[in-house]
Symmetry: C2
Subunit: 232 residues, 2 copies
């Protein structure tokens, strides 16, 4: 995959969930910018030392795979900003202009927005997944897999079953056998939310309708100044 | 205690960790303002219905007792702001002016700052506790008691022991017997951090020195405009 990315002259590679020493220099040697995702200050410092161009500091509220240290975006971002000299992108829990201004106030140079863009007309996710995000309340996501690798997903029967298995002391092997490798495809792309998982940020409760990408950007630029105005 | 508060003509009562129906009308009838602490949108709506004057929306990063739904300050505050008409105070993960501006950008009308004010010369906490906050890194707090009532504390031997008991399936009775009722006094006020617990927010990693309360306020007012300047 790394070779294919280099071959295709991709301009920016985002790496995550692993050691930045593995691929950074290969990408950099090929003239590709590297942004590494981090969930704690020590990861950010390590990534900077390995020569990445920027880090994404992703908090506990983010959907999908999550750091072991459970630092939230509000606590993680300013500490990463203070610890590294490279640009910091804030991620996790951001779905509208208020979250963007908050992230910039914390010192972030940019933001990464996930769940809000799943519930767009353009996204390849299944319609059922998009509608489940719109229906979700503030408390409708949960962290599963604390033993395997924490993953924030929409609450559904599968999430409940995984949590029950964890509470009753299921082994890692039993959990892996139950979850398998295709449940996120089943949920997110095939739309079977009874048998599949759907990675989802805890900000889903704030997302009330499926929009187009351009509507989301328009709303951000239209409302930025009014958020700033209330800060004066 | 409620009678004593009314008798002493306290002006504002902050209630938490329970049903706002219990005491709100007694306080209100005595002319006391009531602020109720909430950790999810439904709690905020319920508190508003019971007539409280404001809510504190406290996220997962906060020290001490914590909500069951694990909503972070970044995700909780704007959703509470959208759900109620009364003022909203943001709490959890705020220790400097950047966090204050972020909370206000999310729509909060004010902030509650805890851990930062423990590490002040004026605070009644034991010097050992204050120094432990200053020494803490970004990853030095942890949620214990997920079964009993989640509580964020500084990582120490007691925290490790509680987590081990939880992981090995200890009963609630066993956990209560081990934790007892005085470990937070032992840690926080007697300064015995080997045998006591210390409630602590996950923003402790950003707190680098013990200050006076006035220095903290001065730093906030001195730096507010420079945070706003970078948002333009």
């Amino acid at each position: 995959m790394v070779a294919a990315v280099i071959d295709a002259k991709v301009k920016v590679a985002v790496t995550a969930a692993g050691n930045p020493a593995l691929y950074t220099s290969r990408f950099k040697d090929a003239g590709i910018k590297v942004i590494h995702l981090v969930a704690a200050v020590r990861h950010a410092q390590s990534a900077e030392k390995r020569g990445v161009d920027a880090v994404i500091a992703e908090g506990y509220e983010a959907g999908g795979h999550n750091g072991l240290d459970e630092l939230t975006t509000l606590t993680l971002v300013p500490q990463v900003v203070d610890a590294v000299a490279i640009p910091v992108v804030a991620a996790g829990g951001i779905a509208d202009v208020r979250g963007i201004v908050a992230a910039l106030a914390l010192g972030a140079d940019g933001v990464q927005i996930g769940t809000r863009f799943i519930a767009t007309r353009e996204c390849a996710a299944h319609q059922n997944f998009k509608e489940a995000i719109v229906k979700a309340s503030d408390t409708d996501t949960v962290i599963t897999g604390r033993k395997l690798g924490p993953t924030r997903i929409l609450k559904n029967e599968i999430a409940t079953k995984i949590l029950e298995m964890e509470a009753s002391g299921a082994s890692i092997e039993e959990l892996v056998a139950f979850i398998g490798s295709s449940r996120s495809r089943t949920g997110q792309f095939e739309g079977d939310l009874a048998n599949g998982q759907a990675y989802c940020g805890s900000i889903a409760g704030m997302i009330k309708e499926i929009k187009s990408v351009s509507e989301i950007f328009q709303s951000i630029t239209d409302n930025y100044d009014s958020v700033l105005a209330r800060l004066k």
